[in-house]
């Protein structure tokens, strides 16, 4: 039986983020919170392994208490347990203490055969945390994978590299990061949602993890964001074209192999 973990993050839906016309800063207040999209692919990869080989999936996030709804999204789709790592001392963490705190959580929960992460988050795009967890745990890792299979005691993963697909065999325990759109995340069902919402989430704080405050959160973060500039797209020139020109455009796209008929 595989013991699996999926690390997820709640992020503002990038579709909802607007730029304040006056201050030119990002306005996230109206944004709906969702599960970081590639994390859903990571969860689906884990669920498919569970469907095939059995096992138990624990979904873990570090974040504020309201991140519980992101965890419930995952247990509604078939993850077995949900763990919310939340504590004031964890707030303001960059990727270093985040990886450290999550790696420690994995150890605290008794360790996992495999830990799945999304390739990166849509709200900070570093891709650090998966590899960071692997390094803190000292286990093997494969990044940017799009498929995974299990042949005890190995995982067989595929990752796309420039112009080719690489197949790797990595030993247990391992950390993998899954690319966006690697698979089609399944829909939740009402029955699963009822179970998930009733079960709720388990909360872990620093009382359990006992990490030194200077190693976590803002204090433990070596990076400092000095400045943030909002990029505003310049309005593009739009040209209105008729049906004849559309045919020409499609022809050119077809000749260049960009669209296939």
């Amino acid at each position: 039986m595989l013991k699996m973990a999926v690390m997820i993050k709640q992020v503002p839906d990038s579709q909802d983020i607007t730029i304040d016309p006056v201050t030119k800063t990002l306005n996230r207040t109206q944004a709906r919170n969702i599960v970081n999209p590639p994390d859903m692919n990571a969860l689906e990869a884990a669920l498919q392994l569970k469907d095939k080989y059995g096992g138990e999936i624990t979904v873990i996030t570090m974040g504020p208490p309201m991140a519980d709804s992101a965890l419930l999204e995952c247990t509604s789709r078939g993850a077995d347990k949900a763990v919310l790592v939340t504590d004031r001392v964890f707030a303001g963490a960059d990727t270093w203490p985040t990886s450290f705190t999550l790696a420690t959580t994995a150890e605290y929960l008794g360790g996992f055969d495999i830990i799945f992460c999304g390739e990166e988050t849509t709200d900070s795009s570093t891709g650090h945390v998966g590899p960071g967890i692997a390094e803190f745990l000292g286990v093997e890792q494969a990044t940017y994978i799009h498929s995974i299979d299990y042949q005890d005691p190995y995982f067989i993963v595929e990752r796309e590299i420039e112009g080719a697909v690489e197949t790797l065999k990595i030993g247990k325990p391992a950390v993998v990061t899954v690319v966006l759109n690697a698979n089609n995340p399944r829909r939740p069902t009402l029955k699963r949602k009822i179970e998930a919402f009733r079960k709720g989430v388990t909360t872990i704080t620093n009382k359990e993890l006992k990490l030194r405050p200077e190693c976590v959160g803002l204090k433990g973060s070596p990076t400092v964001v000095k400045d943030m500039k909002t990029m505003v797209d310049k309005p593009k020139d739009t040209v209105k074209i008729g049906p004849e020109e559309i045919t020409k455009v499609v022809e050119v796209l077809y000749q260049r192999g960009i669209v296939k008929c």
């Binding site: 069902t189 009402l190 029955k191």
Partner: protein, 429 residues
Amino acid sequence: MSDFDAIVVGAGNAGSSAAIYMASKGLNVLLVDRADPPGAKNLSGGVLWGNDLAQILPKWQSEAPLERFINNKKLGFLTEKSSFMLDFKTQIFEENKVGYTVLRSKFDPWLAKKAKEAGALVIPGITVESLAIKDRKVIGIVESGDTITADVTLLAEGVNARLAIEAGLKRPLRDSDVSLGIKEIIKLSPQKIEDRFNLKNNSGVASEYILGFLGELNVGGFLYTNKDSLSLGVVVPMENLRENGITHSYDLIEMFKEHPSIAPLIEGGQVAEYGAHLIPEGGLEMMPKLYGNGYMILGDAAGFAFSNGLVLQGMNYAILSGIKAGETAVEAKLRNNFSEQSLSAYEEKLNSTYVLKDLKTFKDIRKVTNNPMMYNTYPKLLESIMLETLWERGQPKKKIRDVLSSCASNLNMGRIKTLREFYYIYRRM
């Protein structure tokens, strides 16, 4: 043993109100909505009369996400070049703040959250597929092949009422049952809104319009002020849109926006959201049987909405029907009897409230609100009367009596027929 005492389908005003009532009385309630967050697919004109909400949420005025309280109601008759406005502003509305503009995507998730706080299990993002029916009794709902059971299922699924219709508990909708409402949210700074509409201290205005410049189309318009946006829209009866047959519904709102009396009010505003929704306007004609073995039908799904040209309401009817269905379920639970006979208390309760009283009192109101004269003749009559009396053109002045008769005859309105028409409207409004 059922999974829940009660399942509520739909987290709008009706469903959430019912869930709040039942959960606060200790029932084990499941509230399921197809949107996530719950209510994010709901849309309405945007004026909420909240009297009934106080029954279940006494502090709603300070807690709910409300936009502006209404102290000014307007009714406008528009012709191609003119507008004739009735403008009622009162300190009394200001002292008794019960009418507010709301944005449903903010208000409905708040109401669903209140249901959760009351103890209901609120599940968003799930579309119920069908009703579970056994031995001619509704025993719950079906989704992804799973049956979730309850002693009573409350159908607050909105105007389209798919579950009720597919289960044969309600007949399919017809043209005559509905109007199509189309709405835009237009962003404008609070300062501009307050200047243009003569508002202060979070006060707001709700205006309804008769659009008398669209030929044979019987279109009503509305314009409500929110904190930093306007809710502007049109309402057209489906019957009338079909008879016309040559106008795209989505163009109607643009025609309204371009009217010379509307354009300056929205100038410089940014369209932040477009939307459309059906409005149940068929009244008693479209009302299904409201209850049966193991179920009740609430809110828009039951056809509870009201429009007489002066007011356009639905949310208050939904809330009150939700509370009454909730009361019925709680009493049925005490009797442990969810039969048709036991749930008939729901209709009895509604009979003693304005919900069913209004539908009965105004059962012929559509004959007034859909009367073509209301749109293509009366606004023009008002315009010509105003021009005759107010426009100094170096002509000898006429007595009001003569103004009326010449204006009416210019519009081919026979005196007897016109009087009969007015009497007809007067009787039904």
